[in-house]
């Protein structure tokens, strides 16, 4: 893990408040595994004491090759002071970006079938995963299920609009793009139509907490292994501040579990967890 001062390759306005930030870093581009993230110093070099004070965590969406060298891209939506500052970064600016951080998705079994289920700004790490599957030694078997609120959120699909091996199913809450519904509904309909999930099915998911609860329920009820990537408020990304915790499953009733391990640090134990290891109903009301 490193914390280099990296150059901004581009910061594309994708519309609807969404941006794609490209950073020049051949090492991270090569080393980052799908599901890992970086902590970006959004207020780099602007003031002695940055405002906002803390860095912001972003999943690595994909590696990029440019004439200036290899790097990686993060996709973000402007929601607050940090992302507003980020949206003002220009080509050639420099920022500190610490990473790659966190536990990545478990690589898929060569013979299995992967289901990638993403919602909103949780979709980007699944792009990295699909890229890895596409590069695998055997032809990948995977399908992608994506959900957003409306057509205005279409930039979230960045990286999935091109043809993918197993097809991309798109749902919107209001039906303004693709079919009306949610990504998890689409996944369940798919399985129901086929009489259940296929043998060797495995689900990888990232998105809002409500979606993660639904996908975990759908998978656990059908015996399908499910890995989810959670988003929590992070201070340092290194396991030092202990701010980003998520509840361990059955934390209060497991005698084998030390009280210390009832709250898991999402930055180092996650952000990717086996859905059966965490309790998504505990803790803060997530936006």
């Amino acid at each position: 893990m490193r914390d280099p001062l990296v150059e901004v390759l581009y910061n594309r306005d994708l519309g609807g408040g969404y941006f794609a930030l490209g950073l020049l870093d051949p090492v991270l581009s090569r080393e980052a595994r799908p599901g890992q993230f970086v902590m970006i110093e959004v207020a780099s070099g602007r003031r002695v004491v940055p405002e906002p004070l803390l860095r912001r965590p972003f999943s690595v969406q994909r590696s990029v090759e440019t004439p200036r060298g290899a790097g990686y891209q993060v996709l973000y939506r402007v929601v607050g002071a940090g992302t507003t500052l980020m949206s003002r970064l220009r080509e050639g600016d420099q920022v500190h970006a610490l990473g790659p951080l966190g536990r990545p998705f478990t690589p898929a079994d060569p013979g299995g079938v992967s289901f990638l289920v993403g919602g909103g700004v949780g979709i980007p790490p699944l792009v990295a995963l699909a890229d890895t599957l596409d590069r695998g030694p055997v032809p990948p078997r995977y399908e992608v299920f994506l959900g957003v609120r409306s057509a205005a959120d279409a930039p979230c699909f960045d990286g999935f609009v091109e043809a993918r091996a197993g097809g991309v199913h798109i749902r919107t809450d209001d039906g303004s793009l693709g079919q009306r519904g949610t990504a998890v509904q689409a996944l369940v309909e798919r399985w129901d139509r086929d009489g259940g999930p296929p043998a060797g099915a495995r689900v990888y998911s990232c998105g809002p907490m409500g979606m993660l609860r639904a996908v975990a329920r759908a998978c656990e009820g059908r015996g399908v292994p499910c890995e989810i990537s959670v988003e929590t408020l992070m201070g340092c990304g290194l396991g030092a501040c202990m701010g980003c915790v998520i509840r361990a499953r059955d934390a209060g009733t497991r005698p084998d579990l030390s009280p210390y391990d009832r709250w898991l640090l999402a930055c180092v134990r996650g952000p990717v967890f086996d859905s059966r290891d965490v309790d998504l109903d505990a803790g803060p009301p997530h936006p």
Binding site: R2, G235, C236, A240, C241, Y260
Partner: protein, 310 residues
């Protein structure tokens, strides 16, 4: 003729019987148990490392949200989630033993007996150079700050731990008191070898539209540059009130911040919240302090301690 190279600045400082290679440490609760920052920061380059608070038993900590950013500050209500004494000794000490810098263990408890038991167990641990008694965490319901809000409680826990350990004993005081110098004098009288000043200031952040506190714990401890003026004032007041050495902390972001603490009477400093924004902050602070001494023609950094003209 070539100019002679500038003579190196002597950065060593003494905190009672303990000599540090330089005055910069990492503050408790902002650098975990050591490995967390070691991937991007050479801990052996620093004067010392202070662990996350250690209790007799493992603690769960508070529900999230545990953090809230404020202007030039950070509120936290972690609630001292920690691995507990046994796991600390088994899993964390081996790393700390090889750290190559002074190791200070922050000790917490809900009762005086718990402070004493942890301190007694650490007394025989060769990897530990000093204890920092945390009587000032604002985020737990029992223990911690209840001992630090007045001179009686602080001196009782200090005296009890003093009797249980021969290690150098620092006491980290709460700024959430009326007269910090009075607490400092009481702790000195109870046998402390040093003071760590200051812990976080009790604060609160509000989500206006939802009309809810941002922290699940409602209130938390404020750190970061916002509290530096309060910390400097308290270091200066205590420097004039006691004879034992002071370790200063509270919002240190730059070398100049750290040097201000030393001029106000701190023999050493701790960098905390700054490490979250920049994990190499402590090393950069140290570099800048040495550079400032060279620029000022100061051969020994210890000579600036308490030189404030006021």
């Amino acid at each position: 003729m070539h100019p002679s190279p500038p003579s190196p600045v002597d950065l060593t400082v003494r905190i009672g019987p303990l000599t540090l290679a330089n005055p910069v440490m990492l503050a408790s609760g902002t650098a975990g148990y050591g490995p967390e920052l070691s991937g991007v920061l050479d801990l052996s380059s620093l004067g010392g490392f202070v662990t996350k608070g250690i209790a007799r038993e493992p603690w769960e900590g508070n529900s999230p949200p545990r953090l809230a950013e404020t202007h030039a500050g950070l509120l936290n209500a972690i609630g001292l989630q920690n691995v507990g004494l046994d796991r600390f000794l088994a899993e964390k000490v081996p790393f700390l033993r090889e750290l190559g810098t002074r190791v200070v263990v922050n000790v917490i408890g809900r009762t005086i007996e718990e402070y004493v038991e942890v301190s007694r167990a650490l007394d025989s641990c060769d990897a530990v150079d000093a204890l920092e008694l945390n009587v000032s965490c604002p985020n737990i319901k029992h223990g911690g700050i209840q001992f630090g809000t007045g001179p009686e409680g602080a001196s009782r826990v200090t005296a009890a731990v003093r009797a249980a350990t021969r290690k150098p004993l620092w006491v980290k005081l709460s700024p959430n008191v009326g007269d910090i110098a009075e607490v400092a004098r009481a702790v000195e009288g109870a046998g402390a070898d040093g003071l760590s000043l200051i812990n976080t200031l009790l604060g609160m952040a509000v989500d206006l539209d939802r009309r809810r506190p941002i922290l699940a714990n409602v209130h938390g401890g404020l750190s970061g540059p916002a509290i530096k003026p309060v910390a400097l004032r308290m270091v200066w007041q205590c420097f004039r009130a006691v004879g034992i050495p002071i370790v200063g902390m509270g919002g240190i972001w730059t070398a100049r911040d750290a040097l201000e603490f030393m001029v106000c009477g701190a023999r050493a400093v701790q960098v905390g919240t700054a490490s979250f924004a920049n994990p190499r902050a402590a090393a950069e602070v140290l570099d800048g302090m040495g550079q400032w001494c060279r620029d000022q023609g100061i051969p020994r950094i210890a000579d600036i301690v308490g030189t404030l003209e006021a």
